[in-house]
Amino acid sequence: MAALRQPRTGGLLVLAAIIAVLPFLLPNAYYFDVVILVGINALVVVGLNLLIGYAGQISLGHAGFFGLGAYASAVLPARFDIPPLAALVLGAIGVGLLAVVIGRPILRLKGHYLAVATLGMGLLIFMLLSNEQDLTGGPDGMAVQRLTILGYKLHGVHTWYWIVGGALLTGTWLALNLIDSPTGRALRALHDSEIAAQVNGVDVVRHKLTVFVISAVFASLAGSLSAHYSGFITPNSAGFLHSIELVTMVVLGGMGSTFGGIVGAAVLTALPQFLTVFHEYEHAALGLIMMVCMIYLRDGLLPSLRQRLHWRRS
């Protein structure tokens, strides 16, 4: 029973239970669609939270990695006859290598400088995707082949629900394990003070790079899944606004709270879907949520809630 009390196992079980029960509560395909989108965003956010919440390094360009993963899954099968599943893996490996190459110089930066460097990186990827028309179809986007596994074509919201749910659960499990490992402790140490961490023998550069690469690969895989699920992609998936939305999900849910990030992803993905009446005001609302959360709920939704509960109990 003691193992259940641990946030790791307990939280994972709760997440697994929610994923298992949710299909019985969702009334129609539309709700499945929203939940799948939540899951895909949550997968990115779980990775991004490792970088922002644990290592304390901001990235305003993760949609770029998401977009690269999506386009790897779209372009490689369509233009080079590579099977979709191999394309997904190749995309993730490619993005990982790219993250190593980019991460090395820019992770030396801090605060605003890191924010802008990652932002510039994301925008360069966006420009590449929208300008290389022969390969990517340009700003109009391109269609994506169905994902086939062992000759079985994956389609329909129910199949995709389980795929995305499984991916999210696996991703969360991996992230929680990482947080509980020496690497995770090193990340938290360098979050508080890089110099102090270094003095204590933490290889700051290597650990920051590791977590940057891991979060990039998470984003790439989520991008691939999203491309195959929706069957069509545009460069907007790699755009600035998407990067901002991802960071907002991390912050809204609570930096350094893996499950909080998932809650953040759920709120921010689902809210616009159900507020279509206010479609015109969607951006204004997104901006307002970002500001209000950062001003009044600095720890994020889930940690703030938890704190309040603890406070009442004691």
Partner: protein
Amino acid sequence: MSEFLQFLFSGITIGAVYAMVALGFTIIYSASDVINFAQGEFVMLGGMCTVFLAAAGVPLPIAALLAIVITAGVGAALCKLAIEQARGASVVALIIITIGASVFLRGIAQVVFDKQLHRLPAFSGEQPILIGGATLLPQSLWVLGGAGVIVIALHRFFRRTLFGKAILAAAQNRQAARLVGININLVMLSSFALSAAIGALAGILVTPITLTSYDVGTMLALKGFAAAMLGGMGNPVGAIVGGLLVGVAEAMGAGYISSDYKDAAAFLIILAVLSFLPQGLLGARIRERV
């Protein structure tokens, strides 16, 4: 040669706009350590307010003046309602707050105004001036003149007036400035209003050349930020030099390499500067303290 001159003219014109945006970044950063990612929205608001006021029948000079006042008000409101409330927040939180403000202002602008491209008539005719085989639009002179006037006025403001000196003092050391009786909240408020006004003016001057719409702010903010960073964050001279360099690099890149990747120039500069000269061309060297 005339081709080079042509690219240089357009580069310096747009560079002057980036320089004004970069100055706005610099002023707010000096006064409050905040990087205001909504700086580009001030430029957009300046242009859009003028367009819509002019369309409503207000004479252009008065419309421009009103637009500057409105934008300065928005800047002050941003400071009062968001930045001041978030005192003590982390750098990441402040980045997200100002990005949120930028998304919010853009969202409001697309409802209050519209999603169309708009233009203003050139202030003194469209007849281009021929110089060495290249042409220069009279409006470019307005932009350059406007940037020049702002630089001189700011210089005098910071050096000659008590309030300007108070802002500089607050930028040096907020605690010490407070101890000698400087009202830090007022300094922050006026720095936001001031840089909003500068942004608005830039937006008004450049709209006849580049047109404006509700979403021009993002790119302008990013390029202005590239400029500010290239020159060294918090350094006004650096902001101007950086702005002109980014503008010229962009125009040359578009002219000689590829216009598809015109916008990439600024970001390649950012990545290069950050990798090799993390403090910018004219920035101070700072060490982290434990």
